[in-house]
Amino acid sequence: MRCKRERVIFLQQTEIAVVGGGPAGLAAALEAVKMGCQVTLIDRHAFLGGQLVKQTHKFFGSSKQYAGIRGIDIAKRLAGDLDSGPGKVSLELNTTVLGYYDDGVLLVEKDERVSPLFPERIIVATGAMEKMLLFRNNDLPGVYGAGAVQTLMNLYGVVPGCRVLMIGAGNIGLIVSYQLLQAGVEVAAIVEGDTRIGGYLVHAAKVQRSGIPIYTSHTILEATGENCVEGAVICQVDEKWQPLAGTEREIAVDVICLAVGLTPLTELLRQAGCEMYYVPELGGYVPLRDENMQTTLPHIFVAGDAAGVEEASIAMVEGKIAGISAAGSLRSCTKIDGLLEACRQELHELRAGDTGDKSRRGLEKLRKTMEKRKYAEKDESTGLLRA
């Protein structure tokens, strides 16, 4: 196929383009290939696995969700499955999707060259990024996202500093604190704005046993230092999270690590025109989507943290659903309903209990919004070029 432009550019075609090679994207690509689809998996990094590659802790859940296996090993296993799978996934690493055209074409950049790719279906599994927190001097070098600290020490074996103040006692804050200890770095304290620790008590107990104090109902007021972080001022907060005067104290640290949650990376979905909805429980703006992970643009699917920030195990199951749904819309397969139902059951189990409470509330909001929304006729709204 040729573009309209005068210069002849040959359009690469594929049945399903998966954007993002983390747990969700890998799972989606694997399922779609299993169903006989031609799949192109794109990731802007040089490696597959997304954020799994720095997760040295063992996963919870059942054996279906790789319980007891470390994230780094799950990444290797999923990438290995791609190689040994029944079909061939065409892998495009070091490749960035720059944008989406109304006719369904993706603009893709690799080695500083830009080219169009025309997929029949798109699965967006772009993940999430660390949230910033508002405090004085929060832009000083030495204020790092928890994910960045993990990358630095678990991927490259470089310590972020000598003494760290961790902000946030959710699972990420707790796990990264423990990983800092493993890397030989001192953790001065963990500060948490809420009245209680958000993460699993197993993790909290582990860091507390190691002598790290966890200050609940506390926040950070400012980072101190000229060119880099040299300290942090923390204080107590009241039940409305407002600082209590007179409770300020300074802690000498050279790193402030932010583990205050993640927000979905939805630029591509938003630019493509998928309807977005603000759901704080899921980390911010998320695309509206149904239980088959189909967005409001019927040929675009979403999976993993881009659909709402949850756990990697959930991302993998959502990836499976997106892969099956996208492939199912191209190939007829009698097993689809059964496969999707099994995945939904898995998700239900993963989101059960207290820790899934927030996700469930967020997803319920999404569901209600979807219900209210009147669907436009699918084929009219796509505006898709037919290959």
Binding site: R44, H45, A46, Q51, T56, R70, M129, E130, M132, D139, L140, P141, G142, V143, Y144, G145, G147, A148, T151, L152, M153, N154, L155, Y156, G157, V158, V159, P160, C162, Q182, A183, G184, N227, C228, L265
Partner: protein
């Protein structure tokens, strides 16, 4: 500073690579990013904000936030947190928003 001992991870570092930072010769390892190599050598301030001239380091280390833009081999606005270190790389603190036509 580098991790010396780790209970779970064993770091298989690539060959040693020489590069310069603002003219100063430093070493890193093949397979790591420029930001990781700089950080291991104690360099955390990677640039300045263009308007208020505030020091800047990396934040996300996944190529998202663009807080780590530097000049590498004469090319401005390189995200050093995801750019692999290469032998002889000339890494400099960038002034302003960077030029695209400059060849020096």
């Amino acid at each position: 500073m580098r991790v010396i001992q780790h209970p779970i991870l064993h770091f298989q570092r690539g060959r040693e690579i020489k590069f310069t930072f603002n003219g100063r010769e430093l070493t890193g390892y093949e397979g790591e990013t420029i930001a990781a190599a700089l950080h291991a050598s104690g360099v955390r301030a990677l640039g300045h904000s263009p308007r208020l001239n505030r020091p800047r380091g990396f934040f996300c280390a996944t190529g998202n936030c663009s807080s780590c833009l530097m000049k590498v081999n004469g090319i401005a606005n390189v995200r050093v947190c995801i750019t692999p270190l290469q032998e002889g790389a000339v890494v400099e603190v960038q002034k302003g928003k960077g030029d695209i036509l400059a060849t020096d």
